[in-house]
Structure formats: structure tokens, C-alpha cells
Amino acid sequence: MYLGIDIGSSSSKAAILDDKGALIAHAAVNEGTGTKGVERALELVFDEAGVEVDTVKFTVVTGYGRITYEHADKQITEISCHAKGVSYLCESAGSIIDIGGQDAKVIKIGANGIVENFVMNEKCAAGTGRFLEVMARVLGCDLSDLSHLAGQSTKEVPISSVCTVFAESEVISRLASGEKRSDVAKGAHRAIAKRVSGMCGRVGLKDCVFMTGGVALNSNMVKTMGETLGREIKAAPYPQEVGAIGAAVFAKELYEKA
């Protein structure tokens, strides 16, 4: 068995491949680095796989918390692991838009799931999952309901500010002036899409673009991203766990190479 672990800023994920390289289990827990999230994700994934921990031949850890995790054989960045994971699940994938809890990346995939080029957002919450969390709070809904709310929009309200802190004030004043919550929600999705589309322009997109990361679970975000870029964008299979899956693929490759 090969284990991949992805310790993100706001969630922990794990995946197991069997000896032949087939994905047999994956799990995500919405608790990130510095919490018990990784232990819970591992419990879930071993339960699902029905295997014991000592059957694991090689472990690769990735994500924001990878440096401080001590039980892996190797640590690899989430950028490399997302490319590897998406390539494993969808051979034709050319590019990835990965929007996580506190950062966003656009990755071009080369042969064998190796990163060809990438860009990452600067140290700012704009264009990340954190932006949506703040918007959901201001709009008085759960993060999981934000996509549905934006789907009811009939007239998108533009959110001009790219800064999360300023956007929060802007949304409050939009609501105070009588704009509908759904229209403001759609505007918040558009603000992220515009921010990330600038990153896509910097690195360039290949054909067959997939979204990964927790934000890809928001179907309206995937749709808005596609509208903004004027091309089809799909959510990757298991978008939240794809980094852990990529880590598990690396674990198998590294074990066999050793």
C-alpha cells in the first residue's frame, strides 16, 4: 500500500493506493494544519481501505503542514502533488486551477504529471477559499450554501475590491443599499474568478482545464470560472483529495524507483 497525506491550511486529506496503483480509499476532514485533522483523515482512510497501517510501504506528505509532519518518508509540495494526482485521475488534463483555503495556484501539467510551469497568488487572501468564507459569513449563510445562493442570482452585483478586508465592507454596504444576497454572492464568485483569471493569463492555460482544492466543490465557482475565462472548466474528480492522491502516486513511484 502507498499512502498520500495532504495537510492543508483548513483541511486534511489522505489517500491510499494498492500495490498495483489502484485508488482504494480517500478521505477529507475540514480541519487543517495544527489540529487533529490529519489523524482523523488517516483513521477514515484506513477504515475505508480496510488495511492496517503497517501495510504501508511508503508515505508522501504534502500541503502547508508537510514540513512539520514527521511520519512520512518524503515531503513534496502540493503543486507537484496536484499535478500528479490530476494526471493520474484524468490523463488528458493540461492545466489545473487549484484554489485552496489560503492560496491559489495555476499549474501547467507536462508529461507523466510533472509540473511544466506554475504561478501562485501573493500573500493575500483575495482569490482564495478564505475570501469565500468571509463572504459566506457576511451574507449569513454556510459556506456550503454559497454556491446555491449564487445560483439564484438574476442580476450580478460587481464587487470591485480585490482585497478581502475591503470587499467585506463593500458587500455590507451593497446589502445595506438593498441589493439581493444572491446577486452579491454571484459578484463575490466573480471577484475570485477575475483574480484567478489574471494568474491564468500569466502562466497560460493548456487544453482540458480542471479545478482542484476545496473551492472546486462549489459548482457555481467552477461555472463562474469557466464564464470568466470563456472556456470549459471542470471540477477534477475528488477535487479536495486530489493532492493526497498525487502524493500516494509519488509514494508508489519513489518506492519502486528506490
Binding site: I67, T77, I79, S80, V115, V119, M120, K123
Partner: protein
């Protein structure tokens, strides 16, 4: 011997305040501050002072906000802060060149913000490609000499300047040799050590520094060249700091094969002309400098220069050390980035700030880049 010399120079670069304080005891000279990017250090040296580089540093910005807003580069904010706190009071004077919009404002604001440290501002020609620019620069250098004499109550003869210029030419040649030799020893002279060894020269009398750096060069040359299986890169930008990013280079098996960093090779890569007076030679070094964001060119040569450096040093990529809010460097970036990409050379853009406390995002960028190339 080699190890001790390296450690001695690293210690010097890591503790600038202590290093400057020890100058007087070492050589009996006082220190004079030289702001980035280019200052005529030879004039300072000719007057019997030791020029020290003022390239900012890690400090909490409390007072500088009064003169430099948060959107100014962190080097200038740090220099202003340290000046206002009295850290530079031991310097007999400082020279500030107006090579960017922020520096131009600092020349003015310094008089009010740090009145206790005499300041000499200087202005380089914008259009460098005609005879008038050379004549102007020669006159400006002589004007700086005159103002410096008044500020420090000294007399600087042409002969003094010629002697100082000869010392500096020897220093610049030694540094060119060091960067070339260091390329073959990427493990002993890793990115951090390389940077610190170059930086140490900005806090020492150049004659004393040369003795040390020549020991390093000779020590390296006496050894077998090192095998290296990591990634060799060319760095470009204003400054390769904070040093923690260079620790990440080492962690990710990235070595600096050559640099186009303003604080490093741009200081010494252009040799002087053979003919002319010392003033013509000093002006000529600035006129002849190519590929620097702070000196205008009719046709930007930086992209091709970086491509040539990659080929010559058999590097695999270019890493851009972009100081946040450094306008001249940011304006240059799209031009050379397009040229490098066209040439198939991978480019990593690192946005840096001297006051960075968290390196996790930068670590991910550097590590991913290394994973992509190894």
C-alpha cells in the same frame, strides 16, 4: 583555513552594525554610508574613509512611516528607520544617488528626517548613450567630491582618487574571479554563503577585504571541483535577501551559478575603460553598465544577457528576486520574462520584502520549482 575565512566573512555580513563599529579599530578610518544602487565609493576611499553599503536590513518600521509610506520598497524604509533611530550617527556622511523615484524623495527627506548625518545627493544621467552624458557625469562626480570635502573637512586630490580607483578595480576583478570560481563549488559556496561573502565586502576596508576574499579564491582553487546534482540557476533583481530564502535554495538543492543582482555582481561586473582620466573611467563604468533596471538603455539588453548567462554557466533556470514595490525592477520584468520564456528558460518569480517573517509560501514556490526541474 578556507572554512575559517568563510566563517569570518559570513559573521561580518550577518552583523553589519558590529562590523562597522570595528572598522576604526581595524584600520583607523571612519565610515561613510553609501546608499543603493551605485555610489562613487572611490571618492570616499580617496578621502581616507571606509565606504559601507546601506542596503536596509530587518527592523521594525515605526518612525519611517512619517516619510516613506507602506508602498515604498522595504530597503529604503529600513534605511530611513535606522537613520531616524540614530543607528547611522556613527557615519561621517552618507551619499544617496537618485536612481529611482523613492531615492529621489529620500534625498530630500533625509535632510529633515536625519539632519545629524550629512548627506550628499547625486544624480546620474538618464540618457547615457551620448558624449553629453559622459561629460555631465564627470562633472557630477567632481561636484560630489567637492561637497564631500566640505562635509568631511578633507581634501581629495586627483592622485588620491586615482589610487582609490586602482584599489577598487583590483577589488572588482577579484570579485569577478570569486563569482566565477564559486560556480564550481556549489556545496561549499552555497547560495547563502555566496551572498554573505560578497556582502561582507560592504562593511570592510576594501584592501583588508581583498586579502580575505583572495584567500577564499585560492582555497577553492586548490580543491577538486564539486560534483552537483541539484539545479543551477541565475538570480536577478535588486537584492537576494532575506538570507532565509537562500537557506531554502540550499534545502531544495538550488545553487547560484551566477547573478545579476544589484547588490552583488552589478557592483563589479563592468570593468573600467583602459584610456582616459580617472574621472572619465569612473563615469565610463556607469555609462558602460548594461542590463541594469536602474540605468536606462535605448534597447533593453537584460533579457539576452540573462539568456547568455544561463548558457555560459550551464544553468537551468532564472530566479527573479523581486523586491516588493521596486518600480524599476518591476517595469523590467515583463520584458525579460518574455525573452526568457521564448528561449525556453524556466523563470521563478519571488516577491520579497526585507521584513518577511513567514517563509512558507516562498518555500512552496522554491521547492515546487526545484521539483519541476530536478
Amino acid at each position: 583555513m578556507l572554512k575559517e575565512t568563510i566563517m569570518k566573512l559570513e559573521e561580518r555580513a550577518l552583523n553589519p552594525a558590529k562590523a562597522v563599529a570595528s572598522i576604526k579599530a581595524e584600520c583607523g578610518k571612519d565610515a561613510v554610508g553609501c546608499f543603493p544602487i551605485y555610489t562613487p565609493e572611490e571618492i570616499v576611499y580617496a578621502a581616507g574613509f571606509v565606504p559601507v553599503g546601506l542596503w536596509g536590513g530587518r527592523t521594525e518600521i515605526k518612525m519611517a512611516d512619517k516619510f516613506l509610506q507602506g508602498f515604498c520598497c522595504s530597503i529604503m524604509r529600513a534605511n530611513m528607520e535606522l537613520g531616524m533611530r540614530g543607528v547611522y550617527d556613527q557615519l561621517k556622511a552618507i551619499i544617496i544617488p537618485g536612481l529611482c523615484d523613492t531615492l529621489k524623495c529620500v534625498i530630500e527627506n533625509w535632510k529633515t528626517a536625519v539632519p545629524q548625518v550629512p548627506m550628499i545627493g547625486m544624480v546620474y544621467p538618464q540618457a547615457r548613450w551620448n558624449r553629453a552624458a559622459e561629460e555631465y557625469l564627470e562633472a557630477e562626480l567632481k561636484r560630489v567630491r567637492s561637497d564631500f570635502e566640505k562635509a568631511t573637512h578633507t581634501l581629495i586630490t586627483d592622485k588620491n582618487v586615482e589610487e582609490a580607483f586602482a584599489v577598487y578595480e583590483e577589488y572588482r576583478a577579484a570579485m569577478r574571479e570569486f563569482t566565477e570560481v564559486a560556480c564550481d563549488y556549489p556545496l561549499i559556496i552555497d547560495a547563502r554563503t555566496r551572498h554573505l561573502l560578497i556582502k561582507a565586502g560592504y562593511f570592510m576596508d576594501k584592501k583588508l577585504y581583498m586579502e580575505e576574499i583572495k584567500k577564499v579564491i585560492d582555497g577553492l582553487k586548490a580543491m577538486e571541483k564539486e560534483a552537483f546534482h541539484g539545479v543551477k540557476v541565475i538570480t536577478t533583481g535588486l537584492i537576494g535577501e532575506p538570507a532565509e530564502i537562500l537557506d531554502l535554495f540550499r534545502e531544495c538543492e538550488i545553487s547560484v551559478a551566477a547573478d545579476d543582482i544589484a547588490q552583488e555582481s552589478r557592483q563589479f561586473r563592468t570593468p573600467a575603460r583602459k584610456e582616459g582620466s580617472v574621472w572619465e573611467k569612473m563615469a565610463g563604468r556607469v555609462i558602460d553598465q548594461r542590463g541594469c533596471a536602474f540605468l536606462a538603455e535605448q534597447k533593453k539588453s537584460r533579457g539576452q544577457m540573462l539568456i547568455d548567462m544561463v548558457k555560459e554557466r550551464e544553468a537551468q533556470a532564472v530566479i527573479v528576486c523581486m523586491m516588493k514595490f521596486c518600480d524599476p525592477e518591476e517595469f523590467d520584468y515583463p520584458v525579460y520574462k518574455a525573452q526568457l520564456e521564448k528561449a525556453g528558460i524556466p523563470v521563478l518569480y519571488l516577491e520579497l520584502d526585507q521584513q518577511i517573517e513567514s517563509f512558507e509560501q516562498i518555500r512552496t514556490r522554491i521547492q515546487s520549482f526545484a521539483e519541476m526541474l530536478i
